[in-house]
């Protein structure tokens, strides 16, 4: 019997496909998420919109909080560790969380290095803005990728940019000859073997979700139509004025993303979404997506 194999780690992400992973800060929110049809919850101290507003150093959640959330639901529980903070990841693994998100939403602990994710039995998801970044994280052992987007803004524009960038770069690799792949790997600053694999298969070797700024059922369906495998919703649910119906509507939109009649029906009467932020008004130093490359 083998545990923590690549197949077992990537396999859980395969099972989450077509689903919505929701940020929660309490056991009560986790139950609302599960009942709405979330495939997993992300256990956090503060949702990204609050981290953005309140500032300060954002760290791994209190283990007691994570235990409460684990006890409240039967679906997988994920939790965030700071970029490069391998001890937070060790603690999360010891707590038995099902996935660790090495996340730019928290304050980075290491500005040069990410966690060596091959050393862990627990699988990792990491954010990426383009193909090179995604392949560097996979090279470090990430078993799942998500767009970074710009978390806590309720503005989907950055997630769209990141997904389109990945898709375009994958298409470009497919047009190259074998003799051009080493130069492409150097340009992407990505491991050659992974570049070669993507050129051959036309897709990332792991599941790729959308994250960062998704606030409505239409946002979720947009990211699915752009080719994402599923959706993370951070502040978008519990910063809206009526979380349960919005959560259920985003779940429905992620399954029926190609059916505008269903999207029209589930988008009705959801109340006010989170307010949202224009990206151009965020000072460069407060951008989360540029943390960890």
């Amino acid at each position: 019997m083998e545990q923590g194999t690549v197949r077992v780690k990537r396999g859980l992400a395969e099972m989450l496909k077509g689903g919505v992973i929701m940020d929660v800060t309490t056991a009560a929110q986790a139950k609302i998420a599960e009942e709405a049809g979330a495939v997993a919850v992300m256990a956090l101290e503060r949702v990204p919109a609050d981290i953005r507003r309140e500032g300060g150093v954002a760290r791994m959640a209190d283990p007691a909080r994570i235990e409460e959330i684990k006890a409240a639901v039967t679906i997988p529980v994920m939790a965030k560790a700071r970029i490069g903070h391998f001890v937070e990841a060790q603690i999360l693994e010891a707590l038995g969380v099902d996935y660790v998100d090495e996340s730019e939403v928290l304050t980075p602990a290491d500005e040069e290095h990410h966690i060596d994710k091959w050393q862990f039995t627990v699988p990792f998801v990491c954010g990426a803005r383009d193909l090179g970044e995604a392949l560097r994280r996979i090279g470090e052992g990430a078993a799942m990728i998500r767009t970074k987007g710009e978390a806590g803004t309720g503005n989907v524009v950055e997630a769209v940019r990141h997904m389109r960038s990945m898709t375009n770069e994958i298409r470009r690799l497919q047009t190259l000859g074998g003799d051009q792949l080493m130069a492409a790997a150097r340009e992407l600053r990505a491991p050659y073997e992974l570049v070669r694999e993507v050129a051959e298969t036309g897709r990332l070797p792991v599941v790729n979700f959308a994250a960062g700024g998704i606030a409505t059922p239409a946002d979720a369906a947009l990211m699915m139509q752009l080719g994402c495998d599923g959706v993370f919703v951070g502040s978008g649910i519990f910063k809206s004025d009526d979380p349960a119906p919005r959560a259920a509507a985003i779940v429905a939109a992620t399954t029926y993303f190609r059916d505008p009649a269903v999207l029209a029906r589930v988008s009705q009467g959801l109340g006010t979404p989170m307010a949202g932020l224009e990206i151009g008004r965020i000072p460069p130093a407060e951008m989360l997506q540029t943390r960890g490359r």
Binding site: T5, R7, L12, E14, M15, G18
Partner: protein, 192 residues
Amino acid sequence: MTVRAGVLALQGDFREHAAALSAAGATPVLVRTAADLDGLAALVVPGGESTTMGALAERFGLVAPLREAIGGGLPTLGTCAGLIFLARATTGPRPQVQLGVLDAVVERNAFGRQVDSFETDLRVAGWAEPLRAVFIRAPRVERTGEGVEVLAAMDGHPVMVRQDKVLGTAFHPELTGDRRVHTLLLEMAGER
């Protein structure tokens, strides 16, 4: 002519099942509405999250049509969450939407959390070679009714069962290159 085999595509790894069915010689059809069930020779309920699948099936009116089709003899394979969805009940305290077309009570996450997930070589009744089986936050069968045949077990707990035309596995045959489980489903469709 190849047979049309459906894959319930509400959530989960339905693409992997569709690819496995193609490799086993069928034409896969993604099922998201009751109308998609028309003309199928077999059906797969994939891995995923059983609570999500149940909530969506209920909200979009698929529970009764699925019960009718599978109860009416449509050969069906459920893997992991799919096994839970086909079964009569779970051992958990909270009820969830289940089809009840397989007379079995299932314990969810019976092997533990993701850090306890594993792969292993599994002995299957009547098969000469072991099957590489991937268990991810996997369930197992705790009780079976009459007419449920246990095809494989781990530590005395069934992990692959068959009741007439309904086949359930706690593991994920779609995640390996071995197509024997999907071939068995298509053989069951051929006997119809």
